[in-house]
């Protein structure tokens, strides 16, 4: 069902935990399956210097959170905002079609954490103009039929 990479990130998730006095914290819930992901960011000079997550969700949700934290570590906020759920899924050698929506959680959690950071520091990122952390992140298109 899951690729070896998914199972690896599920059994040995990277960056689990929380950051005290994080610069940005984002929590999103998946309205489709009721799962929850929380992302903590330490941001220095517009750069992600530390990241931790907590996830209540399936194997795919845990693996995508873990992979997402690895992918954003050391990147600039602008770069991180380009991260898509598809890129995370690809980095995991793919997800079963019914599990693509789980990867949306990871993308949204990262964005929510940066949104929080921007709010606290009065910053503006164009890539977040359409982002509402309280949206139900319902990405119908991400579930491939058949």
């Amino acid at each position: 069902m899951y690729s070896e990479k998914v199972m690896d990130h599920f059994t040995n998730p990277r960056n689990v935990g929380e950051i005290e006095n994080a610069d940005g914290v984002g929590q999103v819930g998946n309205p489709k399956c009721g799962d929850i992901m929380k992302m903590y960011l330490k941001i220095d000079n517009d750069m992600i210097t530390d990241v931790k997550f907590k996830t209540f969700g399936c194997g795919s949700a845990i693996a995508t959170s873990s992979m997402a934290t690895e992918m954003i570590q050391g990147k600039t906020v602008k770069e991180v905002l380009q991260l898509t759920n598809k890129a995370v899924a690809e980095a995991l050698d793919g997800l079963p079609p019914v599990k693509m929506h789980c990867s949306v959680l990871a993308e949204q959690a990262v964005k929510a954490a940066i949104y929080d950071y921007a709010q606290k520091n009065n910053l503006h990122y164009e890539d977040l103009d359409d982002f509402n952390p309280n949206d139900d992140h319902d990405h119908h298109d991400d579930i491939e039929e058949e």
Partner: protein, 395 residues
């Protein structure tokens, strides 16, 4: 080394060797079509008849009241749609419960689209229907009550005899989905007032793809599958002879050994339940404490999610199941768990360990050793647990 502890007997069971052995000749040697009049055909016909007799005996039914199908799902569909269409001129109302298997629920929903009315009875926190609500739901238009015997997820066993009595008093047919009950509980269709009952071989160490519908003599029912004259023209299609032979043997073994089976299951089940309750905090038992299937354990482990739990158990060789949305393909958590009043999160964190004849004390011990650290690890990752404990405990 990876253990292999199978705890998903309610999902399906391994076949017992004696059962397979009884089937084997019918694949390559006695392969005739029971409808053929030559010797090959007669041998097959006899084998099917023997199986039919065996099933009938276990239910206190007549052999002419047993009809073989391609599984429990087909039997459920047949019972419900077959009675609905046969009696549509008498009435178009059906009563069922909210915690039925999807085979029943989706058949009912389909009938709603075709102009039938369906009442879905509530259940209490244990999964039991309310007999008063049942009585009040019956109208002059009601043609069928279909309430499952024992629930596949939480193991709750309904008060079947009382339901049978109500149905009889009001002149309404009573079908029960007995797929989980059959082989685990003594069932007397006369005593219980059951008019139709679905059963399936692969839940009692028989083969997959074979089921049966008990139909009380004189019951009006349309076929679901039309065609040849098999099964007294009620269910067409070349008989799955080896499968039916296996089902017959499975029925025989299950009811010969029923008492011992029940005692062993209850002992192992209670050991598992008590062990989990004692070693893991924030756990609740789902289903009825006593009116439940002998081999059913269903617990909600708070703050963690079922699929992660199953994957983790799988990695240490334990095969289990869950009512979490994440395992279901559908994205909604189990309708059974939601209808007994669990929150989304509790339904997500449910774990079903269903026991069977090959399980041992040692296997229960193994689970009780492996489960707690897995729960601790997953809770450490959970943002929900964090809130409760106010921090991460070291793992």
């Amino acid at each position: 080394m990876k253990e292999n502890v199978y705890l998903d007997y309610s999902g399906t069971s391994p076949m017992k060797k004696e059962i397979l052995d009884e089937m084997l000749p019918y694949f390559t040697l006695d392969y005739g079509n029971p409808s053929s009049i030559h010797a090959f055909g007669r041998t097959s016909k006899k084998a099917v008849d023997t199986a039919r007799d065996r099933l009938a005996k276990t239910l206190n039914a007549g052999a002419n009241e047993i009809f073989f199908t391609g599984g429990g799902t087909e039997a459920d569909n047949w019972a419900i749609k077959g009675v609905a269409y046969a009696l549509q001129n008498k009435g178009k109302h059906i009563i069922t419960s909210k915690i039925e298997h999807h085979a029943v629920l989706h058949a009912c929903e389909y009938l709603e689209k075709q102009g039938f009315q369906v009442t879905y009875l509530d259940v209490d926190q244990y999964g039991l229907i309310n007999l008063e609500q049942l009585k009040q739901s019956i109208t002059s238009d009601t043609i069928l009550i279909t309430i499952m015997y024992a629930n596949n997820e939480i193991g709750t066993v309904q008060s079947i005899k009382e339901i049978g009595q109500i149905a009889k008093e009001r002149g309404v047919l009573f079908h029960t989905d007995g797929v989980q009950a059959y082989g685990n509980i003594p069932i007397d269709v006369q005593d219980l007032g059951i008019d139709l009952m679905s059963i399936s071989a692969h839940k009692l160490y028989g083969p997959k793809g074979v089921g049966a519908l008990y139909i009380r003599k004189g019951t009006k029912i349309d076929p679901l599958i039309h065609g040849g004259a098999q099964e007294k023209k009620r269910r067409a299609g070349t008989e799955n002879v080896p499968g039916i032979v296996g089902f017959g043997k499975a029925a025989l073994l299950a009811y010969e050994g029923l008492e011992e089976h029940q005692l062993t299951m209850i002992r192992l089940r209670d050991k598992m339940i008590n062990g989990i309750m004692e070693t893991i905090p924030y756990v609740r038992l789902n289903g009825h404490p006593s009116q439940r299937l002998p081999g059913n354990v269903n617990v909600s482990i708070e703050f963690i999610e079922g699929e992660s739990l199953l994957l983790s158990l799988d990695l240490v060789g334990i095969a289990a199941s869950s009512g979490s949305a994440c395992t279901s393909g559908s994205l909604d958590p189990s309708h059974v768990l939601m209808n007994i009043g669990l929150t989304h999160e509790l339904a997500h964190g449910s774990l079903r360990l269903s026991l069977g004849d090959f399980n041992t004390e040692e296997e229960i011990d193994y689970v009780l050793e492996k489960l707690p650290p897995i729960v601790t690890r997953l809770r450490a990752m959970s943002p929900l647990y964090e809130k409760i404990k106010g921090g991460i405990e070291n793992v």
